[in-house]
């Protein structure tokens, strides 16, 4: 079926064998790609997508699918299958492709389906012989939908959530009207009542098993409908909260890093303004470091983890600060431990504290003391310099708040800063550690 509207496209230049090329061109140009539609989609955009491809009206395809459902649910199964394996317009991979790459999502979906199938086999042998093919197709479709949900792109997931919200029975958490509540409560109560009624009238030994199962399932269905909005709301709140927290943590890490590296280097460059060689050296090393951090952060962390320990990383701080600020750093470590994310944050905060002390305190030396105990790791950074008033630190001086305090508290540690004008500063960083 060729969409007449597309024939007026310019045809590419023809080759040596005009006839053959022309045929291919017509085929390639005339047919839009087969994909799920975004525009006009009601559920997965399957019907709308097929309609575009076949050049017919969306409604026609929908009616065909609906009729297909009458054949033992084949239409439904076909719909879910297409949903799974056809790429959505504007996306790079189909849900099936995406799932095959997401091991965890795939595992969850596979196990859920195994459980459902086991349940079905159990019930089928007991009760559902008569209903035949329908049960299987509906079940397979449900499993397919489960896969769709697990594998959907974030964008499509939002779309599906919107559909669920609009559905009168499941959604309704947002809809507060009498009608919405009635739509939810009445079927819920009726189903629960029927289930209870069946359960109450059980008699005999074998006569009891089937009604017991059916009754229990109906009761369960009723309760699900009643509680669905509350449950969905909870899940959604949790997801949103987690997303928010992850975003906050990423932002803090980003600010802390930019502050530690780029801003510090700029200050160093400012100081070294007279010496061209120093400025070039500083700029180069900063550029290298920033590139590595931007484009290969995992490798950076991995090398840290593979080769470094707390003591070796603190020794690196000592070397760097002594070189960059010409201030002796006295380093004492008691015990040692491998570096994980938490320790990395602690080390980052210690580096910031040490740089601050070398830069601002005016003290002749800085002392770092680190102790690894069975249940905690502590680092103390101390100078005997001019100290400062914590309350008067300007808001744009983010070092103390972001690079030291937030960084450590985010990893479950504490950061205490003891200072007063004229009597030096000590930054105390303590991180609880699971006992090994």
């Amino acid at each position: 079926m060729i969409d007449p509207g597309r024939l007026d496209r310019p045809t590419p230049p023809t080759g040596d064998v005009p006839g053959a090329v022309e045929r291919e061109v017509i085929l390639g140009v005339a047919q839009p790609p087969l994909q799920r539609a975004r525009r006009g989609a009601i559920l997965g955009g399957v019907c709308a997508g097929l309609a575009v491809r076949l050049g017919v009206r969306e409604r026609t395809v929908r009616i065909l699918f609906a009729l297909g459902v009458l054949f033992y649910g084949a239409g439904l199964l076909l719909y879910v299958g297409v949903w799974l394996f056809l790429t959505r317009s504007g996306e790079a991979a189909s849900i099936g492709d995406r799932l095959s790459k997401k091991r965890r999502a795939l595992l969850v979906a596979v196990w859920s389906s195994v459980i459902v199938i086991a349940l079905l086999i159990a019930t089928r042998s007991l009760a559902l012989q008569g209903t035949g093919g329908f049960v299987w197709t509906i079940l397979l479709s449900a499993i397919g939908l489960l896969f769709v949900w697990r594998g959907a792109s974030p964008d499509e997931r939002t779309h599906i959530e919107a559909i669920l919200d609009a559905a009168p029975v499941v959604g309704g958490a947002k809809a507060r009207g009498t009608k919405a509540v009635a739509l939810r409560v009445i079927p819920g109560v009726v189903l629960a009542g029927i289930g209870l009624d069946i359960l109450a009238h059980i008699g005999g030994i074998w006569g009891g098993a089937v009604p017991a199962l059916v009754g229990a399932m109906i009761l369960l269905g009723g309760l699900l409908i009643l509680l669905a909005p509350w449950w969905l709301q909870n899940v959604r709140d949790l997801t949103r909260e987690r997303r928010e927290r992850v975003r906050m943590e990423e932002r803090t890490a980003l600010i802390a890093h930019v502050h530690d590296s780029v801003l510090q280097t700029l200050t160093l460059i400012e100081r070294a303004a007279g010496s061209e060689a120093d400025v070039v050296r500083l700029a180069r090393s900063q550029e290298r470091e920033l590139r590595r951090w931007l484009f290969d952060p995992d490798a950076l962390n991995a090398t840290h983890r593979a080769t470094e320990t707390l003591a070796s990383m603190l020794a690196a701080i000592q070397t760097d600060v002594e070189r960059d600020y010409a201030t002796p750093v006295e380093l004492v470590t008691v015990g040692d431990c491998p570096v994980d994310d938490d320790v990395l944050a602690l080390v980052g905060a210690a580096r910031e504290a040490c740089v601050n002390a070398a830069k601002w305190s005016g003290a002749p030396r800085v002392a770092i003391y680190a102790e690894v105990e069975a249940t905690s790791v502590s680092v103390f950074v101390r100078d005997t310099g001019r100290g400062f008033d914590l309350d008067t630190v300007a808001d744009d001086r983010q070092g103390i708040k972001l690079s030291i305090r937030d960084r450590v508290t985010q990893h479950g540690g504490t950061a205490t800063i003891r200072t007063s004008t004229g009597s030096g500063t000590e930054v105390q960083l303590v991180l609880a550690r699971p006992a090994t």
């Binding site: 002796p328 004492v332 008691v334 002392a367 003391y369 102790e371 101390r382 005997t384």
Partner: protein, 216 residues
């Protein structure tokens, strides 16, 4: 007490002149030597209060000087000086009888303070040495504690541990006193007690260093 009489042993002329300049006027410098034999002999003749002793010298180093003097006249106090702060040097020389240990990058005022402290019979711990002692006397080996022949010598008290931690964090004795709400005198006695344990304890970590340096 007047100015302590100090004798200086170091094989580097530059270092000796530097230390001379730092100490001039604050202590009574009664002599110096640049090698082991002459050093040991002159020290025994002049009986200074404190010997400032370079750890690394040819013919056995500061350790050899300390040994020769110590078994003849244990009243002479030694304060070791070194460019390095490596545990093997520190532990060997302290166990041989030195009452303290400072690195050569110490400031003049701190060096004078250390000399006076040693002359008064106290111990001088650098932060690094304090850290090492904490490491060597780590609590977490009940097996070793059970094996130990003298638990009093082989373990630090909680208070001693606190004092050492603060030294390792770079606190001066008077700051430690203020922090723990005890007198400077008490801090000193804790440090001396740690020094005694460090010299006499047979803990594995300590004898390990000693045996490596063929000291035991």
């Amino acid at each position: 007490m007047g100015q302590p009489r100090v004798f200086l042993v170091d094989d580097h002329e530059l270092i000796r002149s530097g230390i001379r300049a730092e100490l001039a006027g604050s202590v009574d410098l009664c002599g110096e030597a640049d090698e082991v034999d002459a050093g040991a002999q002159m020290i025994l003749e002049r009986t200074p209060d404190v010997v400032l002793l370079d750890v690394h010298m040819p013919d056995g180093g500061g350790l050899e000087v300390l040994r020769r003097v110590h078994h003849v006249n244990p009243a002479i106090c030694f304060l070791a000086l070194s460019v390095s702060d490596a545990a093997e040097d520190v532990i060997a020389i302290v166990r041989a009888g030195a009452r303290g240990y400072v690195t050569k990058n110490i400031s003049g005022a701190d060096l004078i303070d250390a000399v006076y402290r040693v002359a008064a019979g106290d111990a001088v711990f650098s932060p690094r040495l304090a850290g090492f002692v904490l490491d060597a006397f780590a609590e977490s080996d009940p097996g070793l504690a059970a094996l130990s022949s003298d638990p009093e010598l082989d373990q630090l008290t909680p208070r001693e541990r606190q004092v050492l931690r603060l030294i390792a964090r770079g606190y001066a004795y008077k700051d430690i006193g203020a922090e723990l709400e005890i007198s400077v005198k008490t801090v000193e006695s804790h440090v001396s007690s740690v020094l005694r344990k460090l010299q006499l304890s047979n803990r594995h970590q300590l004898t390990h260093w000693a045996s490596e340096r063929r000291l035991s």
